[in-house]
Symmetry: C2
Subunit: 477 residues, 2 copies
């Protein structure tokens, strides 16, 4: 395919994409296929000879679409949102065309520099403390990671490296492995599975802290376990706080936890993967109070800020803490402007795409006000759903509705709720996933799609309510 054909096919693809998104409501949100469906639909080997573009495109509807879960359907209420917007898609086209690999400043200066500035823009939108911004002379700054999992892992590894150096400065005879064997990290018992995984990868103990009735970790709980662990000869070094947990969007109490971490020289990382986007609104910014105590902070614009996956924004107060943990510089990566830095020292992969273009397009074409309006609309829809649930005596709300997630359940057994969820998902009209809160099986209703409107939420509730009635009628009285 040459550039001339690309002009034609690219425009056809733009229309296909626009058609897909304009008509996504008409597609069944969750597919009917069974595991293994795809293999039999396509050949067992790649073709020897080139096929025509027509043949490939025909197969999108035949092979791919029947197996797609439509995350951008307004009937999709599962997991958390993944961001999607036209400006981000346009920027991604440009990113693909430039196709640079930004592993050093010299490898593409624009890629390194736009990222630094975009993370400053975003940090200012969130009113992050100055310490986290790069500016022209700051010691902090931001980086785009692929996912929050990577950000947590990077923070944990940087903290591990820092504590090892700190202890070895006083005790040069203690080996790294000996120190690591005594380290202990902490997170909420509500934290995402990736936090536990970061501990596993880093080869350190990870303890899950109990949470209060609001599913938040409190200062007293941390204080208690720290005392016990220090008494047992362990070395506390890392606390991963969550703002907006995956099960219920709960918030660890960082105003209590932060001062303890600072006093005890424990690295505090904040994972606000979902909730972070909301902090651009003044009314939600108080949820981030206490960030001034953190060493690193992360959230995913690719979840709720209209920047397509992948774009996980991470900031640190001291760049040197992270860079020191990973820096490697073989000759083929050295260049004249070595000192001008690059974010590949802050991440697991060396290569990186020009992802900041998406942020630049989205921030400019929505403007801060447009982004705030988008967040507020989703929160409003969640509140609307909450009101509908509360008006139905058969149901209860299982956790405070703070942002775009509603956790709810039948007043009744877990089994009953499991059955209800199964029926909802088997009906294929809407798609939800569950969570467990204080031993209870709970349904999560997350406002996800950019095009979700009040009528969809109303429709979703009347569907759930109908299935609930059916189910209750079947029960023996």
């Amino acid at each position: 395919m040459d550039a001339a054909e690309f002009r034609r096919r690219g425009k056809e693809m733009v229309d296909y994409v626009a058609d897909y998104l304009e008509n996504i409501e008409k597609r069944q949100v969750y597919p009917d296929v069974e595991p293994g469906y795809l293999r039999s639909l396509i050949p067992e080997e790649a073709p020897e000879e080139a096929e025509s573009y027509e043949d490939v495109v025909k197969d999108i509807e035949r092979v791919i679409m029947p197996g797609v879960t439509h995350w951008h359907s307004p009937y999709f209420y599962a997991y958390f949102p993944t961001a999607h917007s036209f400006p981000a898609m346009l920027a991604d086209m440009l990113c693909g065309a430039i196709g640079c690999i930004g592993f050093s400043w010299a490898a593409s200066p624009a890629c390194t520099e736009l990222e630094t500035v975009m993370l400053d823009w975003l940090g200012k939108m969130l009113k992050l403390p100055e310490d986290f911004l790069a500016g022209t002379e700051g010691r902090g700054g931001g980086v785009i990671q692929g996912t929050a999992s990577e950000a947590t892992l990077i923070a944990l590894l940087a903290a591990r490296s820092k504590i090892v150096k700190l202890i070895q400065a006083d005790h040069p005879d203690r080996s790294e492995t000996d120190i690591i064997s005594k380290l202990v990290a902490y997170s909420s018992d509500q934290a995402h599975s990736s936090v536990e995984r970061a501990g596993l990868i880093g080869g350190v103990r990870m303890k899950k802290m109990p949470t209060d009735s609001k599913f938040s970790v409190r200062g007293a709980a941390l204080q208690k376990v720290l005392e016990e662990d220090r008494a047992a000869g362990l070395i506390p070094f890392f606390f991963c706080a969550t703002l907006g947990t995956t099960p219920s969007c709960a918030f660890d109490c960082i105003t209590e936890l932060g001062p303890i971490c600072n006093a005890e020289k424990i690295w505090m990382h904040i994972d606000a993967a979902y909730a972070g986007s909301a902090f651009i609104c003044p009314e939600f910014r108080p949820l981030l109070n206490g960030v001034e105590f953190a060493d690193s902070f992360n959230f995913n614009p690719h979840k709720w800020l209209l920047v397509n996956f992948d774009c996980s924004a991470m900031w640190v107060k001291k760049r040197s803490d992270i860079i020191g943990a990973f820096k490697m510089e073989p000759l083929y990566l050295k260049h004249d402007h070595q000192e001008s830095g690059n974010q590949s020292h802050w991440q697991i992969p060396l290569g990186r795409r020009f992802r900041s273009l998406k942020m630049w397009f989205v921030f400019r074409m929505y403007g801060l006000k447009g982004l705030q309006a988008y967040i507020r609309k989703h929160v409003g829809l969640a509140k609307e759903f909450e009101t509908l649930v509360r008006a139905d005596q058969r149901f209860e709300i299982s956790a405070d509705v703070v942002l775009g997630l509603v956790c709810f359940r039948f007043k009744g057994s877990n089994e009953l709720n499991e059955t209800l969820l199964k029926r909802i998902n088997r009906a294929r009209k809407i798609h939800l996933v569950p969570c467990q809160l204080a031993g209870k099986f709970v349904l999560r209703f997350a406002v996800c799609a950019r095009t979700t409107e009040s009528r969809h939420v109303q429709e979703a509730w009347s569907h759930i309510s109908h299935l609930a009635s059916e189910l209750l009628q079947e029960l023996p009285h």
Copy 2:
């Protein structure tokens, strides 16, 4: 921006991309900017109000392009290639539109399943041993990682987890940290910096093996160090072999190393990041002989197989080795078809894009023959450059030219070669990076762009030769 405007702007962007690529030769391959150039060209904060698309687009040429290193210019000969093709870009548009996050089968069955089948297609193109394929009943299989760095890390962590379990089975009293403190991993002294980094992250010793005159690790060298290390009480557990090293595209002797690793129960991972694409050609497939001894194998279709970044293909013989090391399954990720598997257990991030679409489009629209022709063309261009260098008595070839990379230098001091490289890169006509081979400063000429033709290679050589003459004339006789 609504779908209607996206139709218009998307088509404009397709034309911009086509124009950019059709005229890329006219752009200076390496930019003139100094570090920090970008910050002063744009505002310090994101706009409050939305800006128009015209305003954003205007800034591409004003802000971005002056700072881009044009990796797809036929005058770019630095690093290794990064893949770029029109079919891949079209597939990426579709991927962005679907915008699913494939972290489980249920999250988008097509995403999980197409990936499994595409890795089988690709494995068959490379004639990988059956063990590495998933098929319908295989124990092996492939996964798309972001980069080779991640593949190496995942392999090392899986090997670490496996050896710990193995030792604990016999010695239940030995702690994990005690075992890890004795582990030792190996790689070539020519291996990529990411291999050393994987050891650092995994918290294990990483020893660099000496290489022979062809920059290859040989069996005898490994045998020797294993004996020493076992005698010292260490536990060898992982060897990362490189096929196609970054400095000189050298090949570790895996037919010698593999049997030793197998006999000693050492996990052998093969990193063929660049060279792997060539193995689809029968004439280069012998370079992969010995892969049958490996536990895991990785190469980057995003380097040399026309699939845009990121797409690093990794295969393992036993999926359970990898999955066992990482699996975590909270309730919000459970679903009816739990057993049908997903690749997110094989990687660091949980979220993943629908990257296999790119492979599907590229493999079908080029066909195996088209892909082979592409590889052969690049190798031919490298041989052409080698011939030009060899015909000039002032220069020498520093390593065997096996694929698309030529390592060459002035017969003379390192200083002289450094000066030559500086002048080449400052002239901005072509772009190269250096490497170090056996203490010598060497220039690397890697055939990179899809559109590089014989005339560009000829032009590049006459330019280098001219700069060389100038430099030599300035020297005192």
